[in-house]
């Protein structure tokens, strides 16, 4: 089948690529564009390892066709740090050991950032429901939830 030409913006960079019509956006990011920071845990929308933002909205990239990204803007884990400056969530995750194996981490970070953009002052319950789409089998979620809440507090402080 003929490949399809897709024009997008990825992490702020205008990006064009060719893909098969049936390819998922996750597959295209990883295998066509080399952006392997986004992970595949299930391919069926159940684990959140593939989380990205599509025009700022939190999305499972395994549930989107690559061709559907045409004309849209994509945010992946590779675009989360600004140059050598980590995003506050990334820094807190390291300081508070909110990752063990790290396979869920890119997806969790993208989901946490989307949560804090919508709700800068979440309760523990709101964090837990905000991240309920991201499976982590290693940490038991404790340190993830704490790191997100701590980051939120810190970001509120710097903003005020």
């Amino acid at each position: 089948m003929a490949k399809v030409h897709v024009t997008t913006t990825i992490n702020g960079e205008p990006t064009e690529f060719l893909c098969e019509p049936q390819q998922s956006l996750l597959d295209a990011l990883r295998n066509n564009l080399g952006l392997t920071g986004t992970k595949e845990g299930c391919g069926t929308g159940d684990c959140g390892a593939c989380s990205i933002t599509l025009d700022g909205r939190l999305t499972c990239s395994c549930l989107v066709l690559a061709v559907e990204a045409d004309g849209h803007s994509i945010g992946t884990i590779e675009g989360m740090a600004q140059g050598d400056k980590l995003h506050p969530l990334q820094r807190k995750f390291l300081e508070m050991a909110a990752l063990q194996c790290g396979i869920c981490t890119p997806g969790v970070l993208i989901a946490a950032r989307a949560l804090l953009e919508k709700n800068p002052n979440p309760t523990e319950t709101e964090v837990r429901f905000g991240l309920a789409g991201n499976l982590c089998r290693c940490t038991g979620y404790d340190k993830i939830v704490r790191a997100v809440m701590d980051t939120a507090a810190e970001m509120r402080e710097t903003a005020s």
């Binding site: 992970k39 299930c42 069926t44 194996c101």
Partner: protein, 758 residues
């Protein structure tokens, strides 16, 4: 060995940022599926559509003719290990491994690999799999233990005999102490109950994956995600016939394993596909394949009987544990048989395990393999016993705790028993002392439960190399994949011992060609073993630094001490010299005798067991049957927490896996013997909103036989939760569950039965 006491430490016990952290939060870290090679093609596996069938013929000609297909392999290409002669690699029998990697005489479960194809695209490889023609003779299948041990059950393997007859019981294990009959005769109270648990999957988020390149000179390179690159090398070598010296296994970052990645599925297949096609081959399992065809842990069917005197002294304990092995022998019998009664001083013990095969995927290790299901039975019976005797359940455990120097039924004599300390930690904890409102709202009931657990911990082979860089920093190489922060612990130890800042130490994991043999990451052994070999390597490096300083000062090396990152004269008699820091000595290394660095390879000894005691509060919605964990506190003796955050993380992660096992996770099969819930939606692991914070109470009672006092942490936390939660649900409902998971349908069913009875 010098034991370092906590007070003197700057880095040991510090919550440092892990060496591999930045790569993991920025998406840079390369996991197995992230590797690519020039010219790489894709491999796919054809799997059996039947739960049990004789493979009469396989015709791959149509698949091979499909454009884009570069190679096809079947069991003919895998080295055969005849069933009559056992060939062991660690605890794995290659007779079973070769049949697990590719079905040989029979397909033994739905999803069993039958053949594999490599093609230029993943889609072409998948399409080619459909063109392979397999003639099957379908046989009756058997899934559940109770069915598999019936006299007329379909037999999976004629060559397996139990009591002289072909049987699905593949093996037994016995642990014995005293005289069990006499023990029960002495008891005033005896309680005997039967329990069932379902197989549960380790649930690592990263599916198995590998990329293998077999070059024309016969040398192969494997990038894969595993709990041991040396295991990958050895097993691939055995199954393909390529000598170990021609295989370099490179450990990718591992996205969770929990025991499951101590065996392999894809690597030998990918190697053979690469060899046949002349191209590097990448294989990645789908989640469906992971659930269907990799090993969960055993389901079980157990009977536990415990007898005690009126004063609460336990006099006899008997356990019979039937475990599902899956389609080939190898249940973790050592878990329930050895661990269940180990924390207790019981004079008369008989513990028997049966390894039962059935038409399911072969089990793989899962965190404290087998111990949680044994503890589930034992710790629930203890709860009933406590109630019957009118003794507090923790008090009953405390009174019967094993003691240092005692011999356990599984054979070992304990060097150090710290079980009582874990019980006391919970008894004295605010959680246990706080009141719990049992009926907060109509239709809602709350309860509290406790349980304890035991795990052996382990030592074994480890290697390390510690080198100083020319600019005076430190590079440590070990041979163990880091599943949850072991690099962070090793960096802390190295910085401490060398007296340098933590950020001057890098820790990397070597491949099979760059570091000496190191056994699997598993059994809670890695921090224990690698800290030991790293300590000894650092001691050698310090010896070299002293020699170099002595040479510069022209004094005897004996007259030099190393302290706070620098060599100094031992005393006024040694001479007056300004200190020579590690950095200065590294810069002068070439003039003083060459590069500075040392390695140690050791079969480490001296592991001490881990004890844990947990308390949990649950809330049950009686109408919906939903059990929620409200509060959880887990106390465990870890010996020494080299990096407390990752120690707590192990405990928290293990507990939440235990919560899933107790409440929601199970393998469900249909009538054709096909797994019905091979995905993360229907196989329900705990998500963030299902659980509360998990408080880890970390006790540090040093292991005197380890330089830093380490015992091990990862396994023990998953042992108590099943029983602790079951006991809490009993406390809430006044109704005991003898099978897991306590999922909403089961809870409502039991509550309906209770209503009907009332």
């Amino acid at each position: 060995m010098n034991v370092i006491t906590p007070t003197e430490n700057k880095w040991i016990g510090a919550r440092t940022v892990r060496p591999d952290g930045a790569d993991k939060v920025t998406g840079r870290a390369a996991y197995a599926a992230d590797t690519t090679m020039p010219g790489m093609i894709w491999g796919k596996v054809l799997r059996s559509p039947h739960a049990h069938a004789i493979i009469k013929s396989i015709d791959t000609s149509k698949a091979e003719a499909l454009p884009g297909v570069k190679a096809v392999v079947t069991a003919k290409d895998i080295v055969d290990f005849p069933v009559d002669k056992s060939v062991m690699l660690g605890i794995q029998d290659m007779r079973w491994m070769c049949r697990n990697v590719m079905a040989r005489e029979k397909a033994l479960f739905h999803g069993h690999p039958i053949a594999a194809v490599a093609a230029t695209t993943e889609a072409t490889a998948a399409e080619a799999c459909k063109l392979i023609e397999v003639e099957y003779e379908v046989l009756p299948h058997v899934i559940e233990i109770e069915d598999a041990i019936k006299p007329d059950a379909p037999i999976l393997h004629d060559f397996l005999k139990h009591e002289g007859k072909p049987s699905n019981i593949a093996g037994t294990m016995v642990a014995k102490l005293g005289d069990i009959e006499q023990g029960f005769a002495e008891a005033d109270v005896v309680i005997e109950r039967t329990f069932r648990t379902r197989p549960v999957h380790q649930g690592y988020i990263e599916p198995q994956a590998c990329t293998v390149s077999y070059a024309p000179d016969g040398r192969a390179t494997i990038w894969s995600s595993s709990q041991g690159q040396f295991m990958v090398r050895a097993m691939t070598s055995l199954l393909t016939g390529v000598p170990q010296s021609n295989i370099r296994a490179i450990p990718a970052e591992i996205g969770g394993g929990f025991g499951a990645k101590t065996i392999i599925y894809l690597e030998p297949v990918a190697l053979l596909l690469s060899k046949k096609s002349g191209r590097p081959v990448k294989m990645v399992m789908s989640r469906d394949e992971v659930m269907r065809a990799t090993g969960p842990t055993s389901g079980s069917f157990s009977t536990v009987k415990i007898g005690a005197k009126k004063d609460g002294t336990i006099v006899a304990a008997q356990g019979t544990f039937y475990l599902q092995a899956g389609c080939l022998p190898g249940s973790p019998l050592r878990g329930p048989v050895g661990c269940s009664f180990a924390p207790y001083a019981i004079p008369h013990v008989l513990s028997v395990g049966y390894d039962v095969v059935s038409n399911r995927s072969k089990v793989a290790a899962y965190r404290a393999p087998g111990a949680p299901l044994g503890a589930y039975a034992t710790e629930c019976v203890l709860d009933e016993l406590a109630e019957k005797l009118g003794i507090d359940p923790l008090e009953l455990r405390h009174r019967n705790s094993a003691k240092t120097g005692m011999k356990a039924a599984y054979g070992a004599t304990f060097n150090q028993v710290t079980f009582e300390e874990t019980i006391e930690a919970i008894q004295n904890h605010e959680h246990y002392k706080s009141p719990l409102e049992k009926n907060p709202r109509p239709g809602i009931k709350r309860g509290r439960g406790v349980a304890s657990g035991f795990w052996y911990n382990a030592g074994g082979e480890s290697s390390a190399q510690v080198n100083l860089t020319e600019d005076g920093n430190v590079v440590v190489t070990t041979g163990h994949p880091d599943v949850g922060g072991s690099r962070a612990s090793i960096a802390n130890v190295t910085a401490e011992l060398l007296g340098v800042e933590h950020d001057r130490v890098s820790v990397i994991i070597g491949d099979t060609a760059s570091i000496g043999f190191s056994n699997l990451t598993g059994g809670s052994r890695v921090t224990f073993a690698s800290a030991m070999v790293v300590t000894q390597s650092v001691e050698k490096v310090i010896g070299q630094l002293k020699e170099r300083a002595a040479k510069i000062w022209k004094i005897d090396p004996e007259a030099v001490i190393y302290e706070n990152g620098a060599c100094r004269p031992a005393g006024p008699n040694a001479g007056q010299f300004p200190p020579l820091a590690l950095k200065d000595l590294a810069a002068k290394a070439n003039e003083t005798g060459g590069p500075i660095g040392a390695g140690v390879q050791l079969n480490t000894q001296g592991a001490d067991p881990g004890f844990a005691t947990h308390v949990v509060d649950v809330e049950v919605d009686v109408d919906l049957g939903i059990v929620r964990v409200l509060r959880y506190t887990a106390a465990q003796d870890v010996g020494r927490a080299l990096h407390p955050s990752y120690v707590e993380g192990q405990i928290q992660g293990g507990v939440v896996q235990g919560i899933g096992w107790a409440l929601s996770e199970e393998y469900l099969y249909d009538r054709q013997g096909r797994l019905d819930n091979a995905n993360f939606l229907d196989y329900r692991m705990p998500v963030c909103s299902d659980v509360p914070m998990i408080e880890a109470v970390v006790l540090e009672i040093p292991n005197p036989r380890h330089p830093q006092g380490v015992k091990g942490v990862g396994e023990a936390p998953i042992v108590p939760p099943l029983a602790a939660i079951a006991n809490a649900v009993y406390d809430a409902l006044g109704r005991r569950f003898y099978s897991l998971p306590m999922s909403p349908p089961k809870v409502t069913e039991v509550m309906d039965m209770k209503l009907a009875a009332e």
